[in-house]
């Protein structure tokens, strides 16, 4: 949530990077293919990269690292991209959306995955896809993003499946599909954690459980905030009359749409489960308090009257007839045992002793 306001005051359209601090070098990867050929090379300079493009093939230019706003700007100038889109690219606080400009379509998405360093913590990363025409796609991702697209690159290299026969719109779909898949992985992780916690709740509901519940709740809230706009976004692409997505790719987008809905369904289910687990936690605390109180009450109720009796015969009155009798002491013991036994029977009958 940090840095939300720092931009306030700068003129709209200024490229200022907002995101995690990073010193990594920006790398530009050009992947170029058609059904027969496949070309892949990394560049550090955008113009250099453009010299290797071949118009007859599908070109995927992937920019890894958006903190170097100069590179983003030069790409923007080259492909005539609207300043607001460029601004969205370098500001990682965006919500998922699709922007349909005259000459291109821009999809902004949030990927989520488990932080590889801190277990059970989510990190998110912004991915911007710009589909320029039926064989040019540019993607921008944050620098420390990991190798989320490795599997797609592998499929491209090996020419497996449908992907090498298709145009750039299908590539865009493939990227979106892998973004939605990232949500499924995270949900599965959360689902496992929820099952763990549920076991704990029934065994030993302590403060730590509460903290983990709260932590998951935060993550579910965060996921929810990320995935709802994803759904809208896919929906908007489907409904938009863009010529950039072919009809046959549209069927695949419908599938992505279904997947986002499944993600949302699962998140809502988790929310309901979390609410139920909170209830169980709270009533467990109450139950335990009840248990403690019962113990206290049973002990007090038994011993306080006995102590009173002992106190009575500890009084120093001159004239106390019982004290003189021979059996007095034993009679009193008998009475005290009878009282204790009676109370215990009473408690058992009222199910106070489990």
């Amino acid at each position: 949530m940090q840095n939300l306001s720092e931009k306030s005051g700068t003129p709209p359209g200024t490229l200022v990077y907002f995101g995690k601090d990073t010193k990594e070098k920006v790398s530009i990867t050009l992947i170029q293919y058609d059904e027969q050929e496949y070309f892949e090379r990394d560049f550090s300079d955008f113009d250099e990269c453009m010299n290797h493009t071949d118009n007859g093939k599908v070109k995927w230019i992937n920019v890894d690292g958006i903190h170097d706003t100069a590179i983003v700007e030069s790409i923007g100038t080259r492909f005539n991209i609207h300043p607001l889109t460029l601004e969205d690219i370098v500001n990682t606080m965006q919500r998922a959306k699709v922007e349909d400009y005259d000459n291109y379509i821009a999809c902004i998405m949030k990927m989520v995955y488990e932080n590889p360093k801190i277990k059970k913590k989510l990190v998110s990363e912004q991915l911007v896809i710009i589909l320029l025409n039926d064989n040019t796609l540019i993607s921008f991702q944050e620098a420390d993003g990991g190798d989320v697209f490795d599997q797609i690159r592998n499929r491209l290299r090996q020419g497996k499946g449908r992907i090498r026969k298709q145009k750039a719109d299908y590539l865009a779909y493939t990227l979106m599909d892998s973004v939605v898949d990232s949500y499924f992985s995270v949900l599965e992780m959360i689902g496992d954690e929820l099952e763990d916690i549920e076991d704990l709740l029934l065994k030993s509901p302590d403060n730590g459980v509460l903290r983990r519940l709260h932590q998951i709740k935060r993550e579910v809230i965060y996921l929810r905030k990320s995935v709802w706009p994803m759904r809208e976004m896919v929906n908007n692409i489907e409904r938009s009359e863009t010529r950039l997505f072919s009809e046959s790719t549209g069927i695949y987008l419908r599938d992505v749409h279904d997947h986002t809905i499944r993600v949302i369904d699962t998140i809502e289910t988790y929310r309901d489960l979390l609410a139920g687990m909170m209830d169980i936690y709270l009533s467990s605390i109450s139950n335990r308090m009840n248990q403690v109180m019962k113990t206290l009450t049973i002990i007090t109720t038994i011993f306080v009257p006995l102590t009173f009796i002992a106190g009575v015969y500890g009084m120093n009155f001159k004239h106390m007839p019982e004290l003189e009798t021979k059996a007095g002491y034993f009679v009193v013991w008998g009475i005290m045992i009878a009282i204790a036994a009676g109370l215990l029977i009473y408690f058992r009958k009222n199910k106070w002793l489990k």
Copy 2:
């Protein structure tokens, strides 16, 4: 919820089975009928099955077991079914939906029923219906599904009712109707369980009740998640301008739609009831705590002052005039009884003693 993520990374359109582990043999049943004739046979090979089809009759090809993706693929190839539909068939994590392709309509549904092995536990099974034309319907169900369609088969065999006179779209409706009926059975089971729990709540609200409440809540959440898309699905069929469902069958679909709404209404009612029962449970715990505290307070309030008095006359001061008197001991007993009686009257007046 398991396995959600395993698919992540495989190319879209790859047929990978996701569902319960099963070793059962896949069986393909061909049922073929018109008003006069009825034919039924099981096959283990799809091509074998296709050799027995007769174009003039209504054909229902039921595939029991979807873990053998090769069979699904060969059916897909034969009838020109879109790869995404095939993928949906073998992935049992789908939500109910209808997909309207040019050459067929595919309905994905979730049946629910009580686990025959573990009482009061729900299991669900995915059913995919593909309506190819007015006399061909293919259905795919998971292998261990039981004999859910037995009654339909019986009606077909006996030629009872409207069903043998109708086309495949009516058969599709009949299957959907039996899916919705499966929800009614489960709701009834839950309704009975709720009544049981309500009785328990008023008699002996313990931790076990809470666990059962939570269990039902989970099931209601699960049912809700399953049935909402069912409703959408039926609605979408009704509104779609498919030529595959005739107008006269449309009236029956409207009936299925009404039934799904009734299922949803009942689920929402159960949710409200569950929330109310949770409230009762929590206030029962509080009430019992109150009861325990009152007992403790009454005992303490009565005996502590008496014990104090006994303590006073147990002191060993040389000069304590009361101790010397003859009646002292009895006067003190009198005072102590008076105090106890006074307190009891006070408690009764304040309704502390029920």
Copy 3:
């Protein structure tokens, strides 16, 4: 909620009665009128009844008891009513709806009223109105329905008001209006009960109050479930382009619509009030617990130190200088009284003693 599932498996369109067990005889009443004449007779046979009809007059055929499915079936055959409508008539689990067929319009409604035998318990009864043309209306009600339409019959007999001058669509409106009025009666009963409970809540909030609150909650949930579809139903009639309701009757339907909205508003208000009353109940329990705890704490805090002091001077040490003094005993009493008084003043200052 019982019997929901029993139908599962029977072919759609089979007439099976679902509802309360009843042995009463089905009676068919024919009421026939125009502005001048009025005719009313009970029949036990439907064909007999049809022999008395006169085409120039408005005919109201009321069937009291739907458990005799043969009668329903013969009416269905005679008037060419769709099997699904017949099924809806004999299954009393329907939600309110309107079905617009080519040759008739069918309205299914739920009446509610207080059980005349068990006070403050609701029962509901299904009413189906079939409007066949501008002068034929058939109504089906459950057998033990009471005389809910007596007032309408009286107005028809006496020719009072607008009703004798109007066609069957106005009669249909009159029946709907009396159904909605049944909700107002029940709401009023609930409103009175709520006021009673509110008084009790402030005076003596015990477990019985909770049970009554829960009971009303169930009834409000039930009413809500019944009345929302009523509203939809009336709305659907208004919006449908049926020629069966004339424009002038449309204005009256709008009035029924307003009434259903008022019923819904009141139900929602009751829900809000119930939630508020539950809060008050729970905080009353807490408050009382506080009161009990305070009593305990005050008693303990006062007497435990005093008892300690008495205990000290009850010790049997050989050398205890205070014991030897003449005034010792009285000084100790003084100290003890001072401590008790000091604590009482402290409690009063902190408002622990009200």
Copy 4:
């Protein structure tokens, strides 16, 4: 809420008064004006009143008191008003609505104000405006309504502002505006009360505060129920294609619409605040309980061990070496003081003593 059901059974269209009992005389006021002239007179007879009307001027006929249904009926007959509208006029249980008939438009509204007799209690009054044409408006209000329109009459008399230059539709707007203003007054009263209660909550949250919270909650629920239909009503007038409201008045209606939305916004804000205050109240109770429990625990924990030690040396064993020593008594005192001091230090460290 009383009397909701009494009407049930009477034929629709019958004029029966439902509202507060009143014996006041109905008064009919005719106000007639154009830019130059102004005429105002009270009548007790409607026909008498009609004799004074002048077609060239704007006529406002205000009926104060609707319990005399004969007067309402004669006005209805004279201006050809639909029986259902007349019924709505005399039944004060209506929700706000607009009814667009061919020859007039009827607006039913609820005014709210503080009961002048019982402080901080709301009363509401029904106002029906019938706009017949561009210079005739009839308004019906309940008899004990007070002088809510005095300010409007004053502005008419003095010819101040725009009002004398405008037609009857502007007068209708003015009346609606004053109705919405009545909500603002009431909201302000509630807002002040909320601020009072918030102060109390932090100072001394007792049962009385709870009762006041509940009372305000009821009033907010009631207001909400009244104002939502107001908004719909104004919206419906705006969207309706009535020729009775001129375009220039339409701009003013949009303003009324904005005001109703502001009222709703404020009500929703109050609801949120009330929920928050309830939370604070409940946690204050818990906090206080905690405080009481701590006191009890500290006292008990300190004195119970000391009393035990005193008890030990009060035993009467023949052979107890400590009792014989000279310093024994003082050593025991030392030990007891040390224990008490140790416990106090422990409590302070754990922040049990604030």
Copy 5:
């Protein structure tokens, strides 16, 4: 919330100032620019200001202080602004809205910022923008508003960015953008506060935390109430077919729209977090109570039986055999230590001692 009702009764269209009391002088600033030139001057008189305008340039007339209704009125007369718009300008209780009149478009907005005097308290200020044509914009802000537009003025002076090349609609967008940015700043402040409180909640959840939670809740409620209409407003401008906003500015408005949605998303997230933190607070209180109760119970359970034993041997019966034995005293000590140790072991086993 104060003063809501004071207006009630005044004729609509009367200019009465509602807002904070202020004595500051109203200042009118004229900024006039095109790509080449820039002119800026303060006036205290509106007519004086109008003498300096130049039709060929973009004119921004900013009125700082709306309590001098005469100035507002003269501006209204000059530019033919509808009385209702003028009324909205001087009444600072408006919700954000856009009003599309024939000759201008009026946008009413709420800016929020932290009160510079009282930390962590929000203040809001109303801003009205009137866009008269493609080169005239008038803005009205409250007098003590601070220098929120300083950055915009700087950019205008320096001619940086796009702004000097654009028309007045772009200037309107720039102002709106800075209003939305003001929300981001405030949200960031609240986010920081939330993180602080979350830390406190886990460390020392006391009453102060509750008060801060409640305070933030109020502010979030307030922000929510302010920002939802902002979103509607921007949406309405986008959808309206006004010719005043050019298509190229429309893209920027879409960006403002996205920002308001992000603000709303963040607010909703905060609401969810606040609810979760309230839960944690409440269960912390319960947990602590549990802790206190356990301490009490352990102490009581250990010492009460021991005190009873001491009491027994403090009795003064003549015949008590144990008292005579030599080892009696030490045996009793042994028994008492054994009981205490046994209970401690029992507590440890049941995890009562952490």
